[in-house]
């Protein structure tokens, strides 16, 4: 059987499972959703969407069960819909399912072509959308239906003060940084003429002209782009702290004043280029910090948009929809299939299964009946159930996790990077030396002008070019090597932290194991007809066990076909029952088999047991090697899981990790990470699910597997795009090597300064020497960094 691509989403599947169309044999669809969206786009003349998609793959269209009429309810409108000054309605949404720019184009195009939509703007970076519409022409539910019809989904979110502030801050920094980069680039071009002139000789009038041009470009950099440093220095001094901002602004201003003196009357060389470069380098670093903060706000909005808006209360035998804050302890709540539990509580009627993956990380739904506890945020996957609230919304599991996550993201503790620490002491030292030189020369010689020039020359010769380049250039080479290996580091500073780790904590399901069930034991022999019945039964349910059974049968048996089963019925928490030729056929768990510690699937016809299958979650191929690698590096390896003691112990034994913890809730995991950190360890957490998000956000370094939940990826520092565990050991090797080169670079720049600063203090520095030595130190640092990936081939 050959592998073919789905005509809509471009994902690859076996040809036998594809949906074909009799009238056009070239079309292949992996599901009804893809088929529907494909024809809708063809009918609306939007088929050039596929040109824009190119070679990208899309996710399969999202099948959304809940009713969009909720979006027109008054409680919803009051909370999320705002009025614009022109009298239109406005809402902020998060669009789910966006993969590439073609997805943005399609959503914007479809909505722009819809009557009544005034504005639609989807942000590609964070998938947030602003929609403005005329309620006299179109309802919000119709807009949501339109988005859903093309295979995407939309959630509302509250555009908080935090987001407005973060967006404005980002815009402000972007402008300041752009102007600084623009001016610095111009100054560097002009510098070519200036420095060439030192070697070939230059007319003084021409040199003045060059200084004048540099002055014009450097002035906005210092006073507009660099304004934030003056502000930071002012607030620092107000609180009696000499901070980095003070040193940057003092160094740049002194150099600027000296250069002004040279330009308007004095002799010597101006250093407007240094002024612009110092401000630009530091500002780029600050901008990255601002971007990080904005990402944290976007992540929180995504998480909050997943929280249910309302709950259905049972009051005096009737139903009443209330907002979550109105739920009191003791209230009776009804949860339908597909809905999320809003608060924690105890089941009082009904039997169903709940998907607890957001809490425990396990993909298998858990059976719930009278007396069992339901946790908020878990999804009802089968039948209607009623439960009594035992906590209010504020104290429920989901809200507690969200609030803890928000705190962690806003104040994520990171190891202060060495370069920053070094620059701080370095700057204080240089400033003191410059002052010492100035006073020394003034006392010795008595000439204020000459003392000032020599004093400032100490600052200029110690231009932090080499120091500023030491880390970024090595990190850049390390990061580009990492990205070629499919390892995405969100910020360069994680290289340093990762190189220093003491303990690595792995989640089990989806990280150490594949997270997908596979059939382990070989069943009894079945006839072809019985196999077909079993195949049809497993195909009629979306439960992970049924899906695993279906996949097992398709792989191991040929010529299977679907039969006409009647009275197909899902038995909550157990399996699927149907009738075939007046026989009762059943696939799933039998009630009396509680002694099994693994997942079991029974197949019966008329209550006669024909086959028993045992299913297991397999270890990833490279799990053992990865654990072994870290043990060799003398790093403590720990396995943490929400699963039972028996399963976790078995896996831990198989991979031979140093320690394991079972039955851990997201909060337990996060507390465990904290306790490791408190014991002085630098901790890495590797996870993939929503349940790991909190622990990931607490760790010094967090790593998410590429196919993990969006939220886990969003809160992580490193993403293993190729989804292989060996990527983690590779990341560690590259980080360690890069960090070694960063330290070498810092040493080179320090030695350069130790040699040149005394010469400058002695008053021997002439502009030519300054220009040469500045370039030489930078070249040394760049040349050394280029050696980082020399061993790439060997590795």
């Amino acid at each position: 059987m050959s592998i073919v691509k789905c005509t809509h989403c471009h994902l690859e599947f076996d040809e036998s499972v594809m949906i074909k169309e009799p009238e056009n044999k070239e079309l292949n669809f992996c599901c009804n959703g893809c088929q529907g969206v494909y024809h809708l786009l063809q009918d609306d003349g939007l088929d050039n969407f596929y040109d824009k998609v190119g070679k990208n793959t899309l996710s399969q269209p999202l099948a959304v069960g809940d009713d969009s009429s909720n979006f027109d309810m008054e409680s919803f409108t009051t909370r999320y819909v705002k009025k614009t000054s022109e009298g239109f309605n406005r809402i902020d949404l998060i669009i789910e399912g966006i993969h590439c720019s073609a997805c943005i184009w399609l959503n914007e195009k479809v909505l722009n072509d819809t009557d009544g939509i005034v504005e639609i703007n989807i942000n590609f970076t964070n998938n947030k959308a602003k929609v403005v519409w005329d309620e006299d022409i179109i309802q919000l539910s119709q807009i949501i239906d339109k988005i859903r019809s093309i295979g995407y989904n939309a959630y509302p979110y509250d555009r908080s003060e935090n987001e407005i502030k973060a967006t404005e801050n980002k815009k402000d920094f972007f402008l300041r940084m752009s102007i600084a980069i623009f001016a610095s680039m111009n100054i560097m071009m002009i510098d070519v003429a200036k420095y060439t002139g030192y070697f070939t000789g230059i007319d003084p009038e021409m040199l003045r002209m060059i200084h004048m041009a540099e002055f014009i470009f450097a002035t906005p950099v210092l006073f507009y782009s660099g304004w934030i440093f003056f502000k930071g220095a002012f607030y620092g001094l107000k609180n009696k702290i000499i901070n980095m901002d003070f040193l940057v602004s003092a160094g740049a201003t002194l150099t600027y004043i000296y250069s002004l003196y040279v330009l308007f009357g004095g002799v010597g060389d101006s250093y407007f280029d240094s002024v612009a470069m110092i401000i630009t380098f530091v500002l780029v670093g600050k901008y990255l910090e601002v971007l990080g903060k904005k990402n944290a706000v976007d992540t929180m909005d995504k998480i909050r948009s997943q929280i249910p808006l309302e709950a259905t209360l049972i009051v005096d035998g009737g139903k009443k929809v209330v907002s979550l804050d109105e739920i009191k302890i003791g209230d009776i709540i009804e949860v339908k299939m597909g809905e999320k539990a809003s608060v924690d509580g105890e089941v009082i009627s009904g039997i169903s299964s709940f998907d607890e993956s957001s809490i425990s990380g396990e993909s298998m739904p858990v059976s719930k009946q009278v007396g069992d506890i339901i946790l908020s945020g878990t999804i009802n996957t089968e039948a209607v159930i009623r439960y009594r609230a035992c906590k209010n919304y504020a104290n429920s599991t989901l809200n507690t996790i969200v609030e803890l996550l928000e705190d962690s993201l806003n104040s994520k503790p990171k190891i202060e990077d060495t370069t920053n620490e070094m620059s701080k002491y370095f700057s204080i030292m240089i400033l003191s030396l410059a002052l010492f030189t100035f006073f020394g020369w003034y006392i010795y010689e008595g000439s204020f002008e000459n003392s000032l020039i020599i004093g400032i020359s100490v600052i200029v010769i110690a231009c932090p070019c080499a120091l500023a380049l030491a880390t970024p250039i090595a990190s850049l080479i390390g990061i580009s090597w990492l990205s070629k290996e499919g390892l995405l580091f969100k910020e360069a500073k994680f290289i340093e932290t990762f190189a220093k780790i003491d303990a690595i904590v792995f989640d089990k399901t989806g990280t150490i194991t594949s997270g997908k069930l596979t059939v382990k034991s070989v069943p009894l022999s079945l006839t072809l007809e019985e196999l077909n019945i079993l195949y049809t039964l497993s195909d009629s349910s979306t439960h992970p066990v049924s899906a695993a059974m279906k996949s097992y049968l398709e792989t191991n048996y040929e010529n299977l076909k679907s039969l006409e089963l009647e009275k197909i019925e899902q038995i909550p928490s157990l399996g699927v029952q149907a009738t075939y030729k007046n026989n009762i056929v059943y696939g799933g768990r039998l009630e009396n088999n509680i002694e099994y510690k693994t997942t079991i699937y029974h197949f019966t016809i008329n209550d006669k047991l024909l086959a028993t299958f045992e299913l297991e979650d397999k270890l990833r191929e490279d799990a053992k090697e990865t654990i072994e690698y870290f043990k060799k590096q003398k790093i403590k390896t720990i396995l943490c899981s929400g699963d039972n003691q028996y399963t976790v112990a078995n896996i831990a034994k198989e991979i031979q990790c140093d320690h394991f913890n079972a039955k851990m809730s997201p909060i337990n995991k996060a507390d465990y990470i904290n306790s490791l950190k408190e014991s002085g360890k630098t901790v890495v957490m590797v996870g993939d699910g929503i349940n790991d998000s909190l622990a990931l956000s607490r760790a010094d370094i967090s790593i998410a597997m590429g196919n993990g939940a969006d939220i886990a990826i969003a809160v992580s520092d490193i993403v293993i795009l190729n989804d292989k565990l060996s990527g983690i050991s590779k990341s560690f090797y590259i980080s360690k090597r890069t960090f070694r080169f960063i330290k070498q670079n810092l040493m080179i720049s320090l030695i350069y300064n130790i040699v040149t600063i005394p010469i400058a203090m002695a008053g021997f520095i002439i502009p030519l020497v300054a220009a040469l030595s500045m370039s030489l130190s930078s070249l040394l640092v760049v040349g050394n960094s280029l050696r980082i990936d020399k061993k790439k081939q060997e590795k």
């Binding site: 720019s101 184009w105 402008l175 623009f182 021409m206």
Partner: protein, 74 residues
């Protein structure tokens, strides 16, 4: 010779600051708020997309005019 260079310098600076001004205007309008979308726009926008943008502007103008008229009536 030098006076020509001075004139060129002034013109050069005026041109570059004008371009910078246009960039600042674009940034303040929010054209660079979404880095990914901007880069994709540069690569993929076609004449059809520009025509769509014009159509959209006309549609929005009409919607706004209708809304104003309706609000004035009421």
């Amino acid at each position: 010779m030098n006076s020509i260079l001075w004139v060129e310098l002034v013109i050069g600076i005026i041109v570059s600051f004008t371009l910078l001004g246009i960039f600042i205007w674009g940034a303040k309008q929010g054209q660079f708020d979404d880095g990914k979308k901007m880069m994709n726009g540069l690569l993929n926008d076609s004449t059809e997309d520009l025509q769509d943008a014009i159509k959209k502007d006309e549609k929005v103008k009409e919607l706004k005019a209708n809304k104003r008229a309706k609000l004035q009536k009421s």
